[in-house]
């Protein structure tokens, strides 16, 4: 619940280790998975995702108490910060794409989606892919995604519907194929 998260966030900011642990357990896994998925193809994505999420939490500690009190939706706030970190890192990655090409060919590690959805999601157009990741990996509602991206809820819902349509089409068995 956002209200509980806000209390935990304030307690963590005040130095409560138990609150910090609870907040970490509640949000860090999905944030890490989101950053990792957004960084897909980067050689050091897994390590970067861990570091990025930790940095997001550390930045909360450096906020003024008034700024912490002003955070209403903790999940959306943390996701917005993690997304920004991933986008910045991805831009840096693109500048070194040639050098990383060899690394990107490595297996992506433990994160694999069974039955081919993994690659299908990865091949979606970027705006659709981001909505799918924010909704299903970060676990946000459309309202929260709107807070994170700054785009209208209706636009996001439309993109999500388009993404699902593309995935469904790709999953349709080819005519004449046997089950």
């Amino acid at each position: 619940m956002p209200a509980d998260d806000a209390s935990l966030l304030r307690a963590m900011h005040a130095g409560d280790a138990a609150a910090a642990d609870a907040l970490w357990s509640a949000h860090a896994p999905r944030l890490t998975a989101l950053v990792h998925a957004m960084m897909r193809g980067a050689g050091a994505a897994s390590r970067f995702a861990d570091d990025a999420v930790q940095t997001v939490f550390l930045r909360v500690l450096s906020l003024d108490p008034d700024a912490v009190d002003a955070i209403r939706d903790v999940r959306a706030y943390l996701t917005q910060a993690a997304r920004a970190a991933a986008l910045n890192a991805r831009r840096a990655e693109s500048r070194e794409s040639a050098r990383r090409e060899e690394l990107s060919a490595r297996p992506s590690g433990a994160f694999t989606l069974p039955e081919g959805l993994d690659d299908l999601v990865a091949n979606l157009p970027e705006p659709q892919r981001e909505v799918v990741l924010l909704k299903h990996v970060a676990g946000l509602t459309f309202d929260q995604i709107s807070l994170v991206t700054g785009e209208p809820r209706a636009t996001l819902a439309s993109r999500h519907a388009a993404a699902l349509k593309s995935l469904r089409t790709a999953l349709q068995p080819a005519p004449g194929a046997t089950a």
Binding site: A17, A20, L113, L117
Partner: protein, 125 residues
């Protein structure tokens, strides 16, 4: 095989799978930072009262050590009598009479007695 009909739950399960695979204990660096934040907050909480207490103690020490230097309350001030006021006015008049302006021209000179005569003492009004 994932079919189009169960795509949304499959994506949700995918997200759950990624999150559970990414779960890690809270890093020790973050735990240390939280601890530091708590100590800093406690320091801020007690710093201001400590300074205020030190200031109060210092003022009290000064007041006890130098009691005659402390300002007297307004109630301790006694009003001057009319005789005392008259005496002070007379002294002031003597001071004025003693003032000389040797460089001033005669036409510009005004004798102090003339000035004082225009402003009789309060007691005579």
């Amino acid at each position: 095989m994932t079919t189009p009909d169960d795509l949304t739950p499959a994506l949700d399960r995918w997200g759950d799978h990624l999150a559970s695979a990414a779960a890690r204990p809270m890093p020790s660096e973050l735990a240390a930072a939280v601890s530091r934040a708590g100590r800093a907050r406690n320091h801020r909480r007690w710093a201001a009262p400590a300074w205020a207490a030190a200031a109060i103690i210092a003022l009290a020490t000064v007041a006890v050590t130098f009691p005659n230097q402390a300002p007297r309350p307004a109630s301790a001030l006694q009003p001057l009598s009319l005789a005392a006021l008259t005496r002070q006015a007379s002294d002031a008049q003597g001071d004025i009479n003693a003032v000389e302006f040797p460089d001033a021209p005669d036409s510009a000179r005004v004798r102090p007695e003339e000035v004082i005569s225009r402003f009789p003492p309060l007691a005579s009004r």
